[in-house]
Each structure stands twice: as structure tokens, then as C-alpha cells.
Symmetry: none
Subunit: 304 residues, 5 copies
């Protein structure tokens, strides 16, 4: 299986501000080789504090930011409230990805929509290096979702701020067509983010074996590697971050990581798989991920 | 059967900016005789990557833009994300039609609406020569649809940007009245676009034999030529582009093309029928289309 | 004497809109080799109709636009009033450079300032491919001048519209320091336009022999070639257009042209030297200029 | 002497709103042959009531509007205050030209500027068919003057409202260069209005014998007919209205009228020469003017 | 002589965005110890190309940016035109300080004012880490100067963008009171920048021996060290950068550097003293400056 080429940040479409900030994230933090591991920490809003029960110290945002620093992450993704209260203490030490929308998981997901609660201007003011937006691909609420994303994209373009889209298949129609992590759904989600202007897209690892109700083209046998290859290709020049999702077995996560990087992904965005462990164990696990990423340097490095 | 006259771009209602940009599309690219073939490439959003499975190279937007250049197309129609990332490399080589709205085909079509995700100002900034808007004629969501289109039309008028309307009959009521490609539905859609301010309208080729549930006037025997003649006439000074739709037999497509041009259409907008083939075969098929269009020069040429 | 390299339009700083429009001007009109000859026609405002007395037909803007078409010019530079009334008839046939400011030569030049009378938005609406702004380098009115230019530059950046600065040394201090066409003054003017964001700059050919009152660095013997070389270098990535100024001897103009192109200039902006002659003589003179420019193809051509 | 052709209103640059309103003025009032006589009545502001002393009834705006109706004028030009108080009674009976700027003649004219006191939006609200703006060509205040005019032009374009510029040479530099009604000054003023976007321009009849201080090109012997021919040509597609100025001998005025129409002017704008007489005498004088204009029908009539 | 403490960036008044960006400049580039050497390159506008004559390669902005990279500078300070055209190629490699105002040195300096030609929003868009503003302390134009600075300060606060003030005593009154580099004038300028909201201030090294016309308090004998100590103290929490000014002897510059750092300055902003030499010599000279700065680590480093 031939490795797919990485994507880099040298496309002129990026503009100087986006290129500056992506260069900082990808080449001046973490492994500094064009790959990235982000630490997302929006679970307190998205799931509630239940995600912190097994390891209560992680309910403290300062603990998480320090973990990002110690682990050599390329950025932390948090909501406006935590950014306002906690980022100053570590300002500039680790890139900030300001998550601009979010929701609780209390009401039904059938017409999933993640409302905006912060702006690109907030991100500029806080010194963030990117903004994050959750798009629920396939949701009946897509009119509002697209309208929100359009405003974010325009502001991000105007301010030279990279836009990372959390592209999540969601809603009743998705559940009827293979579910949210089917190859079909993840592939479509990656492409949608790219078509709508994402600079990076966060996707779940695709499951090609989930074929019930999916479109014909996906009703075939695909290996996980073939599936993630296709997803990265569908995203074209949009850089791909693979999500960790719920905490799973380490070896499975490492294998997914290898496959993703082999497919041309830029890196990972791993939350629960990292911080739902004891501190030193978190650091050790990140080191194992970085060991894999170190084998996949990307274009766009200084002098490249 | 007497050929209907073409329409040209010399109506003073166009204003200098729209005339400049249409002149460029129709007389400075492609056959340069006032006809046009556009290459649409919004399928990644509208259908998902499945449309690219048979010929995976077409999932790469750069391949498509190069195909448009090699084939001598009059323009490519893409969404904002691909335009931002890929058009710079070919800026000005082939006219850009920025598609301003779009949707996934995951949720139900019963209340079809294509949300805006870009603006006419984006099109100006990117150097586009036209904007595209999908109007779902007959959809229960027409209030929002018309409100969106009104904003686009006003901006297009203010910036001198030609407005191409993808006029698609859609929604439960349409399905009950002959379906989306009945003569009745296509004819009504063409007229609606014209009444609401389109400079060009993209329609499907009308099917006069689909009469179940259509209005009385359409409950008669019409030849395909009569039907497309009527559709072009309904569009009056709005230039007509005939859509290729799903990939179909070559001879059928060529015959449709001949009938459309005979009726006074300006040209074609063919996506899957072109790029769902191997590269050289795509080029050869386009050449056959152009051979037909070369027999139908339109008014508005330099010196006309 | 080693020829200096041309500049081209492939710098990522241009953005897709500016690149599209410059590509059109430089590679889809005129010689299509990256060089340019523009026909300026703002003399009716800047000098009054007296410039038209020797050849009254040139007081008719339609004559001038046709001359630009017949002569194969890369663009015409006119004020808003003529653009509104005359460009429609030739919309898109020859690129329009909308001149955004201008003044009469009736009041004193001591505090020269060229007031804005049109906007970049007007240029977009009219289908123009560039805007022109006259900057009076060295004038005591520089505060207002810079403020006006800043607005134009921001709008041009926002709309992807190339900005051509007419960089004219002017005012009492300039007259005391070598005059408006000294090497010192022209070199400084070219650099100022570049520092303030011009995509192209129009300068007079520098006179290195005018040394009375100029800064020490210019108090040396320089050949005309050395002087124009330095001016083009001072402009760095800003493309240089050399002005014809008052009608002068043909051989002198051709020699200036050769020297300018040798220095790496992009082309010429010749008004009175072209249209203050009988029609066929104008065309013949332009052909001689083009013969020179054809030897200096620039980077940035399609496929480059 | 060959008669110069009239200009008409069929240029596409006008847009539908301007064409509608000009068609109303030129073809549905007065002689209905494309010519025009306007009745200006801004003297109460520009000179003060002294202009009304010889015939006190003319200080009553209602008298003037009735005079315009009885005399078959193509429009009255008045300031906002009189328009607000008097036009309702005759709304639509005679076209209203709302004069948007004006000044008293009390302070010095050296830096002449006519401040705005109404807007194009006021004109729309009042049902006016055109707006008038006084531009002091050659005044040192040209920066402010051009800025004001730019706003008026943009609004007029946006609202489809014809823009009539009162182009008056004025200021110390003009006095030093032949004075305000020299051929040089009037010719330059007509051109300036055209370059800055006037649809019609009001000029004084040029005096070719005033040559002291004028540019060389005007230092020759020109007949009055040659001079007015040149002025109309300088205005190109901008329609020319010749001003009556101070009351003068009837035969002289009629001769000027003949020469102006022969030159291709659209008509007259006569105030004091009309209403500084007894009522019936005013009407008789207008009839003599119309007799001349009836011999010069202009293009642009309905069906033309 | 007791060394004065450095200032660092840990004051909460900074806000997270300013702290992030200052942290990047001071601790993630150059020596990474809280000190800084900036490379200013606005001489093409402020003095004209004559500053480049001795070493013509420095007229190329790309050369200068590469010099900043090779020399390990903490930032380059350039105008908008060069930033737009050249920064993309090196985006993020070296911090960009966008200079927001500037002027030519052609007209008289008596009422010195540096007009704005770019905005803080431009800086955000380009990915800059600070903005620069030249304040002419003591100029009669201070009303306009303060109004401009107020807008910049407000925008900088809103966007979290550090504000560096070039505090230059200037104007007729300054010349009469000790001149632009007297201790009195420099001390006053440093304080003025601090009082008006500068995050950093660029000052010339003070000359305590220039006492003619200065206020009594400065009419005493002060050592250069005492003078620079006082200036740094006057700036309080505003970080101080000492300017190199015209090229001078190396030993003198190194001594000034030592004295400045001893006084608690943050670093240097050296243009002509660096780039008006041959390339390798520039690098060697910077290394000698850095050797000094390495002895003065400042607070605010990671973990501080």
C-alpha cells in the first residue's frame, strides 16, 4: 500500500495570516514537523462533568493546559469561558484553538445544531491561532448550521484565522443511513467541510463495515486503510485531523493513528483517550502517538 | 422546424459589469461564439464523494480545473471552499462561477432548501465572473428561498455580477404533479428564474411525456423539441443552459444538445456526463458537444 | 549591460482576485506575453480639452476606446463619467482601469492633492480590471493623500482589485529638490507607491542629470539606463509602467521604451504620444512599441 | 457650417431609471421633441431677493411654477425649501429638478464652494425627475467639491436619478486665466462635468474673445459658433444646457440659442431672462425660444 | 552601578492576546530570553531609496527578511505594501511588526505628522504580532497625531495586538529646546508614549550633553547611563527599545547597547547599523549585540 502524500500549508489560497498561524501550530510547537496532536477539552459542555468523574483532577482547565504543555501538544481546543479565565496564565505557551460553538447533549440529537457562542474576533483578542466550529452534516437543521458557518468562514478569511471544522454526521437521516461513523457518513462529512471552506477538518475514523442503508458506492468491502485513504482524499487540500472519540484500547488507537498518517492525515485530536488516564500515563501515551507522527513529516516546514 | 434565434448579451438592462463578465464567458473563452459549456463540480457537497468512486482522480479539484482548461470550457462552477483553495493556481485561466448555496442530500427533500454559504462579495474577491444559486421551485420552503435569492440578486446587481439560477423543481407537491423533470415543472422553473431576475438559468431537459398530475395545458402531446422551445421562450431574455443530469448515453446527450441549441439555448452545463469518464474520453466527448455548439453562434460578439 | 528580470504575477500576496484580473490584463489582451501598454485618457479633466485641439476627434471617448481596441492595448484608463457613458458599448473588449481620483490644473500645484471622485465599488460594478490612484509624492497635502489611498488600498484588497498608483513627485519641496522628473524624485516616488501597497506603479522616466538640490546619493553621474534600473528595483514586486508624458520625438520614446523594458519594467502607459497623432499614425507607433515589448516576455503566463 | 448631431438618451450607460426620468423631461413635457427649456429659480439664495425687485410678483414661488406650466417648460429647478412648500400643489404637472447645493453671494468667491443642503433621497421623496449640483471648476476648494459631487453621483446612480451639473468656472486662478466665461474656462468646465459623471451640464455661453491668461490652445481667433461647438463636443454624451445668465437683449439671446442648438445642445436653462419681465412678455419670449428649439428635434424619442 | 530590573510581560493589564503575542516575540524567537532585537525597514518610505545605495541588495525586501531569519531577529518592522507582497513567503518564520503610519522626508518637518496608511485589522489579517506607530512628540500637529494614535490604541486593545510606539521628538519647538535627541526630549517622548498607551516604545539614545534650551531639570551633568536609566524609568511598564539611528561606529553602538540593557531596556531596534553592511558582516554584528543581550534575561519566560 503506497503512502499518500501529506498536504502542507503552502497553497497560496491560505493568505499570509492563515499561513502564519498554521505554520506556528504545525512547525513551531509539538514535533515541529508539520504534524499535530491537539487536546480538545469541550466535554464539560458537550457531555457534562460526567466525563471527568473517573479522574476528577481533569475537571480543572489549568490541569489540562499544563498537560498540553508537558505533553508537547500543538494546541488546546476550548470554549470561550475557559479561554477567558485560564489562557492568560499560559498565553502563547501552547496555541489556543477557540471553539466557537457547542451544545449540551441533553435534548434530542434528531435535529442537531451546535449554536455559536463566541466569534472569530474573540479568538483574535485572546491570541488564538485557530477557531473551531462543529458542523452537523446531514442534520435537518443544516440551513442554520450553514448560515452560522458562513459567518465564521467570512470572519476567519477576513482576519487570517485558520478554520477547523469538527465535521460530525448527525441526525435521524444519518442514523438511518449507516450511522455517524460509517465510511459513507465520515467521507461525506470530510468533503462537506472542504467544500464549505474548512482549513482543517476533524473526522472520526471511518467504519467501512457499517453498510446498512448507505449509498450503493459504499456497499462494498473496504479495508480501514482504504476507507481513511478515501476520506483524506475527499478532504483534498483541507488538512485532516482524526478524532479519538471515546476512550478505547491503546493498541487500537495506535493502529488507527498509523493508518491515518499513512493516508496523509496531518494528525490527531485526542481528548478522552489522553486525559481520562492518570497524569504520567497520559504523557506516556502521547509520547507513543508522537513516535508515530515523527515518521510522517509534512511539507510546508521552514525552508521547504 | 424553424430554429429559434439566440439571445445574446446586448440588452441594456445588463449594465456594464454584467455585460463585461458575460462577454468574457461567452466570447473570450470556449468557442468564443456566444455559446457556452460549463463544468459544474458541486457534487461532493450535493451527493457526497460517491460520485467520484468510479474515477477516483476526479475527487481532486485540481484535476477538474485542468480538465476545464484542456476541454475549452467556458467556466467552472464550484463552491467557496474549493474556490479558496484551488482557484489561485489557475486564476483567470478559466472563468469561475462561484456557487453561493448548496446542501447535502442526506436529509429529506420534502421541504428542499439550499442554504447560502457564500456571498457575491466573495465572488468579487475571488475574481469570479458569475455566481450560481440553486432555487427549488415548488418547495414549501420558498419563502426562505426567495428571501435568499433576493439578497443575491440585489448584490449581483450592485456589483455587476451575472446571476445564474439553477432552477430545480423540487418538493412533495412537485413529485405529485409530474415530477421534477416534467415539461410542466421545467417550464415553470425556467419562467420563475426569469421572473425573479436570473441572467442565466440552468434547467433539466423537459420530459413532455410525464403528464400525470400536471396542469391541463401540459396534458397534450408535445415533442421534445416543442417542449424545449417552450422552455427557452419562457425564459425570455434570460439565457438558458441545459443540464446534463446523471450520466446517460452519449447519443441521447448529443441529441438533447442539438435540440436545445435549435431552441435558442445558450449552451450546456454538463458535469457527470463529462468527468465520469476517463480523461481523454472526457475531452473527446466535449469536442463532440462543441462541434454542435459551433453551428449556433449567438449575438453579442465583438463588433456585433 | 545585463537585463534585469521581469516580475510577473505569481506572488502569493496577490490573492486570487488580483491575480485573475492581472492575468487578464497581462496575458489575455495585448501581446499576451505579460507586458502591457495602457492608454490613459484623463487629460480632459487633468489639463482640459486643450490637449484635444490638434486632433479634435480625440475629444470623443468612443474614438479612444476604439483606438485601444484596434491598437491592441492592454487597457484604457478613464474617469468615472466616461466609463459610465461609454464603456458599456465595449464592455469586456478591452480592460477598463477606472481612475478614482483626479483634478483640474487650474488652481496652484503647491499643495497638490488629487481628490477622490469614485470608489473601488464603482470599478467592480462597471466590470473594471484595475483601479488607478494619483499620489502626489512630496506634497504638503500628504496626510489627506495617504488617507485617501489607504481607503482605496483596503477596498482594493477586499475586492481583489489590482491597484495602480500614478506616483507623481509634486509640490514646492520637490521643485526645490531636483524637480518632478529627477532621478531622485522618480526613484523615491516608485518606492513610496510600493511601500504603500501599489500592485503597479506609473512613473515618469527618470532624469539623472537633474541634480540641483537632490540628496547626496543622487549627486553622481548615472546613465539613463542605470537610473531606470534603480527605479524598477526600488519598486521591488510592484510592477512598473513608464509614462510617456508630453508628446516627444518618436526615436526618443522608443529608446526610453527599450531602456525601461531592459530594466525589468512591465510596460508603458502612453496617452498623448499615441493619440495626439492622426489615427493610422497612432496605430503604427503602437506597433513599434509592441515590437519592442514582444522581446521582453514576463513570467506568470498560463502554464508558467 | 455643418450642424452637429444631437445626443439623445439611448446610451445604455444611463440605466432604466435615468432613462425613464429623462424621457419624461425631454419627450413628455415642453415641445416633446427631445429638447428642453428649464426654468431655474435659485436666485433668492444665490443672489438674494434683489433679483426680484423689478417685478416683485416673481418673489412668489407659486407664480414661477405657474409660469413654467403656462410657458410649457420642461422643468423647474428649485431648492429644497421651496420644493417642500410649493411643489405639492403642482406635483407632476411640471418636472421638478431639485437643486442640492447652493450658497449666498455674500462672502468672497476666491475659494468658492457650494455646500450641499439636500440629498438625492429628498429628490426621490419629492417626486423630482432630476437633481442639480453646482460645481465650481477651478476653485481651490475642489477637494471638498469633488467629495460632495461624488456622493451625489453615487446616490443618483443608485436611485436612477439624472444628475445635472451647473459647471461654473470660479476662483482666483480662473479670474487670472481669462475669467469665468472665457471659451477656455467654459470648455474646461463642460468637460470636467462630463468626466465626473454629469448626465446634463449647464454652461454659460463661451466668450472666445477673452484670451488674456488662457492656455495657448485658446489664444486663437474662434467664432462664437466654433466655441459653442467645441464645448458641446467636450461634453461628449453629457447633454448640454446653455445658461441665460444675466438678463440681456432678446435678439442676442435668440442668436445664442440658435448657435447652441446648431452645436448640438439639448436646450436652455433661462431664469432672469424669462421671469425678469412682465408675465405675458415672459410667455411670448419663451414661445420665441421654443420656435427655435422646434427645429432641432433630438434622438431618443419613444419608438426612436 | 546597580543594574535596573527588566520589565517582563506578566502584568495582567496586557490581556491574553497582547501577552500571547509578546511572549512569542520575546520568548519564542531570537534569544528566547525576554530580550529583543528588531529589524526595521521603513527607510524606503521615510528616507527614500538613497539609504540602499551603498549596498543595493538591501533594496530587496526579501533579502531583509532572510537577514532577519538568519540573524535570529525577534521581528521585522515593515510597511503594509511590503508586508502584503513579501511576508507570505516567510509567514510565521519571523514575527511581523506592521508599521501603520509613515511619511516621506520631502516636505518640511516643522509640523511633522506621520499619516496612517494601514490599520490594526490589516495587521491581524497578515498574521502580525505587533503594530508600530510613529508619534512626533512636540510637533504642532499633535492634535491629529493623538487622534490617530487613539484609534490605533483602541483597535490594538480590542484585537489584543501589542502597540509599539516610535516616540520621536520632532518639530520647530523641539529644535529650539535641545533638539530631537537631547535627554530632555527623549525622556519626555518615552513618558508620552507610556502615558498614551504604548506597550513598547522605541527611543533614540539620549544625549544629556545637549542642554541648550532644555528645561532646568535637565540643565545638569548626567552620564549617559544616568540618562538612559531615567528614560527607561520614565517609560515604567512600557518596554523600551533603543534605536540605532544612522550607521555609527561599532564600539559606540555596543556600548550604547550595554548601557541600555543595564538600564532595564528590553532590547534594540537597529536598521541601518545592521543592513548597511555586507551580509556576513551584518550577521557578525548582530551576534555581538546578541552576546550582550544574552546577559540580560527578562522576566516573563515560560514557567516564570
Amino acid at each position: 500500500m503506497k503512502r499518500q502524500p501529506g498536504k502542507g500549508i503552502n497553497g497560496a489560497g491560505l493568505g499570509p495570516g492563515k499561513k502564519t498561524r498554521l505554520n506556528r501550530i504545525l512547525h513551531q510547537h509539538g514535533l515541529r514537523n508539520g504534524t499535530a496532536i491537539f487536546l480538545p477539552y469541550d466535554h464539560g459542555l458537550e457531555h457534562g462533568p460526567r466525563d471527568f468523574f473517573d479522574n476528577p483532577v481533569v475537571s480543572d482547565p489549568a490541569y489540562i493546559i499544563r498537560l498540553a504543555l508537558e505533553g508537547g501538544f500543538n494546541g488546546i481546543a476550548i470554549q470561550i469561558g475557559l479561554a477567558e479565565k485560564f489562557y492568560w496564565d499560559y498565553a502563547g505557551e501552547v496555541p489556543l484553538i477557540l471553539k466557537l460553538n457547542g451544545k449540551t447533549d441533553i435534548p434530542s440529537d434528531a435535529e442537531a445544531l451546535s449554536p455559536l457562542h463566541a466569534s472569530v474576533a474573540d479568538a483574535v483578542r485572546l491570541g488564538a491561532d485557530a477557531v473551531g466550529y462543529t458542523l452537523y452534516v446531514g442534520s435537518p437543521a443544516q440551513e442554520t448550521d450553514f448560515r452560522q458557518l458562513r459567518q465564521v468562514r467570512e470572519d476567519a478569511q477576513r482576519f487570517g484565522m485558520p478554520l477547523i471544522v469538527w465535521a460530525y454526521p448527525r441526525g435521524a437521516a444519518i442514523e438511518a443511513k449507516g450511522g455517524r461513523d460509517s465510511f459513507y457518513a465520515v467521507d461525506y462529512a470530510a468533503r462537506t467541510a472542504s467544500e464549505l471552506g474548512a482549513d482543517m477538518v476533524k473526522v472520526n475514523f471511518p467504519h467501512p463495515e457499517k453498510v446498512s442503508g448507505v449509498k450503493d458506492a459504499y456497499q462494498h468491502e473496504f479495508s480501514p486503510q482504504q476507507a481513511i485513504n478515501a476520506v483524506v482524499r475527499s478532504a483534498n487540500r483541507t488538512l485532516v485531523l482524526v478524532s479519538g472519540g471515546e476512550k478505547a484500547g491503546d493498541e487500537a488507537m495506535l493502529e488507527k493513528t498509523r493508518q491515518s498518517m499513512e493516508a496523509g492525515a496531518t494528525g490527531l485530536i485526542f481528548g478522552r483517550n489522553v486525559w481520562q488516564r492518570e497524569h504520567d500515563e497520559s504523557i506516556r501515551f502521547v509520547a507513543r502517538l508522537q513516535e508515530i507522527l515523527s515518521k510522517y513529516p509534512q511539507a510546508g516546514a521552514p525552508g521547504a
